[in-house]
Protein backbone atom coordinates (compact mmCIF):
# COMPACT_ATOMS: atom_id res chain seq x y z
CA UNK A 1 0.00 0.00 0.00
CA UNK A 2 1.20 3.47 -0.87
CA UNK A 3 4.18 1.92 -2.66
CA UNK A 4 4.50 5.08 -4.77
CA UNK A 5 5.13 7.50 -1.94
CA UNK A 6 8.73 8.57 -1.69
CA UNK A 7 9.77 6.84 -4.90
CA UNK A 8 10.52 9.48 -7.48
CA UNK A 9 10.27 7.99 -10.93
CA UNK A 10 8.56 8.63 -14.22
CA UNK A 11 4.81 8.68 -13.89
CA UNK A 12 5.06 10.01 -10.36
CA UNK A 13 2.27 12.48 -10.97
CA UNK A 14 -0.13 9.70 -11.88
CA UNK A 15 1.11 7.55 -9.01
CA UNK A 16 0.64 10.46 -6.60
CA UNK A 17 -2.88 10.98 -7.85
CA UNK A 18 -3.62 7.29 -7.24
CA UNK A 19 -2.14 7.45 -3.74
CA UNK A 20 -4.15 10.54 -2.96
CA UNK A 21 -7.35 8.89 -4.17
CA UNK A 22 -6.58 5.97 -1.87
CA UNK A 23 -6.09 8.37 1.05
CA UNK A 24 -9.40 10.07 0.30
CA UNK A 25 -11.16 6.72 0.13
CA UNK A 26 -9.59 5.27 3.30
CA UNK A 27 -9.32 8.36 5.50
CA UNK A 28 -12.00 10.88 4.60
CA UNK A 29 -14.40 9.62 7.27
CA UNK A 30 -11.72 9.53 9.95
CA UNK A 31 -10.48 13.00 9.02
CA UNK A 32 -14.03 14.32 9.17
CA UNK A 33 -14.72 12.65 12.53
CA UNK A 34 -11.51 14.00 14.02
CA UNK A 35 -12.40 17.48 12.78
CA UNK A 36 -15.96 17.16 14.07
CA UNK A 37 -14.78 16.00 17.48
CA UNK A 38 -12.39 18.94 17.74
CA UNK A 39 -14.65 21.64 16.31
CA UNK A 40 -18.08 20.39 17.43
CA UNK A 41 -19.70 21.85 14.34
CA UNK A 42 -20.65 20.00 11.18
CA UNK A 43 -20.00 22.79 8.66
CA UNK A 44 -16.73 23.84 10.29
CA UNK A 45 -15.64 20.21 10.43
CA UNK A 46 -16.34 19.72 6.74
CA UNK A 47 -14.40 22.85 5.84
CA UNK A 48 -11.46 21.86 8.04
CA UNK A 49 -11.49 18.31 6.68
CA UNK A 50 -11.37 19.68 3.13
CA UNK A 51 -8.48 21.98 4.07
CA UNK A 52 -6.65 19.07 5.67
CA UNK A 53 -7.07 16.91 2.57
CA UNK A 54 -5.77 19.70 0.33
CA UNK A 55 -2.77 20.10 2.67
CA UNK A 56 -2.21 16.35 2.54
CA UNK A 57 -2.26 16.47 -1.25
CA UNK A 58 0.25 19.34 -1.25
CA UNK A 59 2.51 17.52 1.20
CA UNK A 60 2.29 14.11 -0.43
CA UNK A 61 5.35 14.51 -2.72
CA UNK A 62 7.46 15.35 0.34
CA UNK A 63 6.15 12.53 2.53
CA UNK A 64 9.02 10.11 3.02
CA UNK A 65 7.45 7.80 5.54
CA UNK A 66 9.38 9.05 8.59
CA UNK A 67 6.16 8.49 10.53
CA UNK A 68 3.31 6.22 9.54
CA UNK A 69 0.91 7.57 6.96
CA UNK A 70 -1.97 7.70 9.44
CA UNK A 71 0.15 9.57 12.04
CA UNK A 72 1.07 12.12 9.38
CA UNK A 73 -2.54 12.50 8.19
CA UNK A 74 -3.91 12.93 11.72
CA UNK A 75 -1.21 15.47 12.61
CA UNK A 76 -2.13 17.57 9.57
CA UNK A 77 -5.81 17.30 10.45
CA UNK A 78 -5.26 18.29 14.10
CA UNK A 79 -3.16 21.30 13.09
CA UNK A 80 -5.76 22.36 10.54
CA UNK A 81 -8.48 22.13 13.20
CA UNK A 82 -6.43 24.08 15.73
CA UNK A 83 -5.97 26.83 13.12
CA UNK A 84 -9.70 26.75 12.39
CA UNK A 85 -10.46 27.06 16.10
CA UNK A 86 -8.10 30.03 16.25
CA UNK A 87 -9.86 31.69 13.34
CA UNK A 88 -13.24 31.13 14.96
CA UNK A 89 -12.04 32.77 18.14
CA UNK A 90 -12.11 29.54 20.10
CA UNK A 91 -9.15 28.55 22.18
CA UNK A 92 -6.69 27.32 19.59
CA UNK A 93 -4.47 25.70 22.12
CA UNK A 94 -4.98 22.00 22.57
CA UNK A 95 -7.16 19.34 24.08
CA UNK A 96 -5.43 19.96 27.38
CA UNK A 97 -6.85 23.42 27.66
CA UNK A 98 -9.18 23.45 30.68
CA UNK A 99 -12.89 23.86 30.34
CA UNK A 100 -13.04 26.23 27.38
CA UNK A 101 -16.56 26.42 26.04
CA UNK A 102 -16.72 24.91 22.61
CA UNK A 103 -19.83 25.65 20.62
CA UNK A 104 -21.65 22.43 19.94
CA UNK A 105 -23.83 22.72 16.88
CA UNK A 106 -25.92 19.77 17.88
CA UNK A 107 -26.88 21.56 21.02
CA UNK A 108 -30.60 21.99 21.14
CA UNK A 109 -32.42 24.23 23.54
CA UNK A 110 -33.46 21.13 25.43
CA UNK A 111 -32.26 21.36 28.97
CA UNK A 112 -31.16 18.29 30.77
CA UNK A 113 -34.49 16.97 31.82
CA UNK A 114 -34.41 14.51 34.62
CA UNK A 115 -37.23 12.55 33.04
CA UNK A 116 -36.28 12.51 29.38
CA UNK A 117 -33.43 10.54 27.88
CA UNK A 118 -30.28 12.63 28.11
CA UNK A 119 -29.27 14.55 25.01
CA UNK A 120 -25.72 13.87 23.79
CA UNK A 121 -24.99 17.53 23.09
CA UNK A 122 -26.20 18.58 26.52
CA UNK A 123 -24.10 15.83 28.07
CA UNK A 124 -21.00 16.90 26.14
CA UNK A 125 -21.61 20.47 27.18
CA UNK A 126 -21.32 19.45 30.81
CA UNK A 127 -17.85 18.06 30.30
CA UNK A 128 -14.54 19.90 30.50
CA UNK A 129 -13.19 20.68 27.01
CA UNK A 130 -10.35 18.19 27.28
CA UNK A 131 -12.83 15.31 27.62
CA UNK A 132 -15.18 16.29 24.82
CA UNK A 133 -13.15 15.37 21.74
CA UNK A 134 -12.14 12.07 23.35
CA UNK A 135 -15.73 11.14 24.19
CA UNK A 136 -17.19 12.16 20.81
CA UNK A 137 -14.42 10.44 18.85
CA UNK A 138 -14.64 7.27 20.93
CA UNK A 139 -18.26 6.75 19.92
CA UNK A 140 -17.65 7.80 16.31
CA UNK A 141 -14.76 5.34 16.04
CA UNK A 142 -16.76 2.34 17.22
CA UNK A 143 -15.33 2.52 20.74
CA UNK A 144 -11.72 1.92 19.72
CA UNK A 145 -9.40 3.29 22.42
CA UNK A 146 -6.40 2.64 20.21
CA UNK A 147 -7.76 4.57 17.24
CA UNK A 148 -8.83 7.52 19.39
CA UNK A 149 -5.38 7.65 21.00
CA UNK A 150 -3.68 7.67 17.60
CA UNK A 151 -6.03 10.25 16.12
CA UNK A 152 -5.68 12.67 19.02
CA UNK A 153 -2.03 11.81 19.68
CA UNK A 154 -2.73 10.98 23.30
CA UNK A 155 -1.44 8.03 25.33
CA UNK A 156 -3.99 5.23 25.37
CA UNK A 157 -4.05 5.37 29.19
CA UNK A 158 -5.06 9.03 29.04
CA UNK A 159 -7.86 8.21 26.61
CA UNK A 160 -9.17 5.50 28.94
CA UNK A 161 -8.92 7.77 31.98
CA UNK A 162 -10.67 10.69 30.26
CA UNK A 163 -13.45 8.44 29.02
CA UNK A 164 -14.01 6.78 32.34
CA UNK A 165 -13.98 10.05 34.26
CA UNK A 166 -16.29 11.72 31.76
CA UNK A 167 -18.84 8.92 31.81
CA UNK A 168 -18.55 8.50 35.56
CA UNK A 169 -19.14 12.18 36.24
CA UNK A 170 -22.12 12.32 33.86
CA UNK A 171 -23.65 9.12 35.25
CA UNK A 172 -23.32 10.26 38.84
CA UNK A 173 -24.81 13.64 38.00
CA UNK A 174 -27.68 12.08 36.06
CA UNK A 175 -28.38 9.50 38.77
CA UNK A 176 -28.33 12.19 41.47
CA UNK A 177 -30.80 14.30 39.53
CA UNK A 178 -33.02 11.31 38.92
CA UNK A 179 -33.03 10.42 42.63
CA UNK A 180 -33.72 14.06 43.57
CA UNK A 181 -36.58 14.18 41.08
CA UNK A 182 -37.94 10.91 42.46
CA UNK A 183 -37.87 12.25 46.01
CA UNK A 184 -39.53 15.54 45.07
Amino acid sequence: MFRNIGAPRPGLKKAMAEDFERIVRDYQDKIFRLAFSMLGDHAAAEEAAQDALVRIWRGLPGFRGASSLSTWIYAITRNTCLSARGRRGLAADSLEEPAARIAVEMRVAKAWSAAAAPDAAALLDRLPAKYRAVVALFYMQEKSYDEVARMLDLPIGTVKTYLFRARQSLSEELARERVKKGEA
Binding site: V24, Q28, D29, I31, F32, R33, F36, E46, A49, Q50, L53, V54, W57, M106, A117, P118, D119, A120, A121, L123, V135, A136, F138, Y139, M140, E142, F164, R167, Q168, L170, S171, E172, L174, A175, R178, V179
Partner: protein
Protein backbone atom coordinates in the same frame (compact mmCIF):
# COMPACT_ATOMS: atom_id res chain seq x y z
CA UNK B 1 -23.90 -3.84 52.38
CA UNK B 2 -21.02 -1.58 51.44
CA UNK B 3 -21.34 -0.14 47.96
CA UNK B 4 -18.46 -1.02 45.62
CA UNK B 5 -16.34 1.56 43.83
CA UNK B 6 -17.77 2.95 40.65
CA UNK B 7 -15.45 0.99 38.35
CA UNK B 8 -16.18 -2.21 40.25
CA UNK B 9 -19.89 -1.48 39.96
CA UNK B 10 -19.60 -1.01 36.18
CA UNK B 11 -17.54 -4.18 35.89
CA UNK B 12 -20.15 -6.20 37.79
CA UNK B 13 -22.97 -4.97 35.55
CA UNK B 14 -26.69 -4.89 36.39
CA UNK B 15 -26.74 -8.35 37.94
CA UNK B 16 -24.02 -7.65 40.48
CA UNK B 17 -24.39 -5.32 43.42
CA UNK B 18 -26.58 -2.98 41.36
CA UNK B 19 -29.19 -5.75 41.18
CA UNK B 20 -30.13 -5.30 44.84
CA UNK B 21 -29.13 -1.72 45.71
CA UNK B 22 -31.46 0.99 44.46
CA UNK B 23 -28.89 3.79 44.47
CA UNK B 24 -26.32 1.75 42.60
CA UNK B 25 -29.00 0.50 40.25
CA UNK B 26 -29.79 4.17 39.44
CA UNK B 27 -26.08 4.75 38.83
CA UNK B 28 -25.85 1.75 36.55
CA UNK B 29 -28.95 2.87 34.63
CA UNK B 30 -27.53 6.37 34.23
CA UNK B 31 -24.24 4.92 32.93
CA UNK B 32 -26.16 2.90 30.35
CA UNK B 33 -28.25 5.91 29.34
CA UNK B 34 -25.18 8.11 28.91
CA UNK B 35 -23.57 5.38 26.82
CA UNK B 36 -26.66 4.99 24.65
CA UNK B 37 -27.08 8.75 24.19
CA UNK B 38 -23.55 9.14 22.90
CA UNK B 39 -23.77 6.03 20.78
CA UNK B 40 -26.95 7.15 19.05
CA UNK B 41 -25.54 10.65 18.50
CA UNK B 42 -22.11 9.73 17.22
CA UNK B 43 -22.06 6.18 15.88
CA UNK B 44 -21.96 6.15 12.09
CA UNK B 45 -20.89 9.77 11.67
CA UNK B 46 -19.24 9.95 8.26
CA UNK B 47 -17.90 12.54 5.87
CA UNK B 48 -20.59 14.22 3.78
CA UNK B 49 -20.78 12.66 0.28
CA UNK B 50 -19.99 15.99 -1.38
CA UNK B 51 -16.74 16.43 0.53
CA UNK B 52 -14.44 14.32 -1.67
CA UNK B 53 -15.67 15.89 -4.96
CA UNK B 54 -15.21 19.34 -3.39
CA UNK B 55 -11.61 18.49 -2.47
CA UNK B 56 -10.92 17.20 -6.00
CA UNK B 57 -12.38 20.41 -7.46
CA UNK B 58 -10.18 22.55 -5.18
CA UNK B 59 -7.10 20.60 -6.20
CA UNK B 60 -7.99 20.86 -9.89
CA UNK B 61 -8.39 24.63 -9.47
CA UNK B 62 -5.06 24.82 -7.70
CA UNK B 63 -3.37 22.81 -10.45
CA UNK B 64 -4.90 25.17 -13.02
CA UNK B 65 -3.47 28.19 -11.21
CA UNK B 66 -0.09 26.60 -10.68
CA UNK B 67 0.45 25.37 -14.21
CA UNK B 68 -0.72 27.82 -16.87
CA UNK B 69 -0.93 26.62 -20.44
CA UNK B 70 2.38 26.54 -22.36
CA UNK B 71 0.59 27.44 -25.60
CA UNK B 72 1.18 31.23 -25.41
CA UNK B 73 4.87 30.67 -24.68
CA UNK B 74 5.16 28.19 -27.55
CA UNK B 75 3.48 30.58 -29.99
CA UNK B 76 5.74 33.37 -28.76
CA UNK B 77 8.80 31.20 -29.39
CA UNK B 78 7.61 30.25 -32.89
CA UNK B 79 6.99 33.94 -33.70
CA UNK B 80 10.44 35.04 -32.58
CA UNK B 81 12.05 32.14 -34.42
CA UNK B 82 10.25 33.21 -37.61
CA UNK B 83 11.40 36.82 -37.20
CA UNK B 84 15.01 35.69 -36.68
CA UNK B 85 14.86 33.34 -39.68
CA UNK B 86 13.48 36.12 -41.85
CA UNK B 87 16.22 38.46 -40.71
CA UNK B 88 18.86 35.82 -41.37
CA UNK B 89 17.56 35.38 -44.92
CA UNK B 90 17.09 39.06 -45.69
CA UNK B 91 20.13 40.56 -44.01
CA UNK B 92 22.74 39.49 -46.65
CA UNK B 93 20.52 40.87 -49.44
CA UNK B 94 19.98 44.12 -47.58
CA UNK B 95 23.70 44.47 -46.85
CA UNK B 96 24.53 43.83 -50.54
CA UNK B 97 22.00 46.44 -51.66
CA UNK B 98 23.24 48.90 -49.06
CA UNK B 99 26.85 48.30 -50.18
CA UNK B 100 25.87 48.72 -53.83
CA UNK B 101 23.99 51.91 -53.02
CA UNK B 102 27.03 53.31 -51.20
CA UNK B 103 29.31 52.37 -54.10
CA UNK B 104 26.91 54.01 -56.58
CA UNK B 105 26.82 57.17 -54.53
CA UNK B 106 30.65 57.22 -54.24
Amino acid sequence: MACPDFDELIRQGPNGHAGHCDECRALWDAWTEVDEAFESAFAGVAAPPKMAPAVRARIARELGIRRPSILPEALDLIGWAAVLALLAIMLPHLLLRFGAALAGAG
